[in-house]
Amino acid sequence: MTIYSILFYVLAAVILASTVMAVSRRNMVHAVIYLVFSFFGSALLFYLFGAPLLAALEVIIYAGAIMILFLFIVMMLRMEGIEERLFPLRQWLPAMGVCFVYGLVLVLLITADTTGTAPMTAAAVDPSTFGQFLFQRHWLAIEIVSMLLLIALVGVLRLGKDAGKKPEREGEVRS
């Protein structure tokens, strides 16, 4: 048991615990803060797996941009009216069914795979090496992803423009 494997288990415990806490919170601000911890743990895990560029991007994009966007929306919309029962009884059965099937498939896949039992040796890749690999081998995918981000931007602008208008049937508005 080396220092790396101890680090992995500690990080895995932190990630799983904070994610479970985030999922089971009723207050959504607390859920988002717990999830920020989970994404920090994931970033450290990426660093442990030898991907420093991805670790930085995880902190900047996931824990920074996306979670702040969630926090912004949670604070913008008024949530007092929602008396949500945390895990409604009607949803337990489908949730348990889905989780059972998924867990079965996971166990079957992991026991069927024989190549992944040896411990991985540590390695790291330079951000510059990784960037050159990305732009030499996957330049088309980079262009497609940039188009996707542009389309998302245009779509959100269009949605935001429509949202200012009142609904056609005024009687359906609930307060």
């Binding site: 991907a51 929602i82 992991i110």
Partner: protein, 104 residues
Amino acid sequence: MIVSYHHVLILAGLLFLTGMFCLVTRRNLIMMVLGLEIMLNASAVAFVGAALQWRHLDGQAMAIFIIAVAAAEVSIGLGLIVWIYRRTGTVDAGCIETDACRID
């Protein structure tokens, strides 16, 4: 020596399971999008572990694309949630179609 790839897969699978549980059981639309984020992050963890296991950078490239897709998805999803909130005044997935907001 780090742990074997099986343990990474188990961690990613449990994270994915947590996200899926959140997506199925919660009724708040924001919490459902949060569950989707957890699932995407779990798949990124599995890909980065695979990149180390097979000494191939394609896994890390996939993880970068997953992060970009997650950013696009969350912007569209939250834009839709704000749109739905302005039209119907609620973010509860059970009350958008029907008038009565049933709480069970």
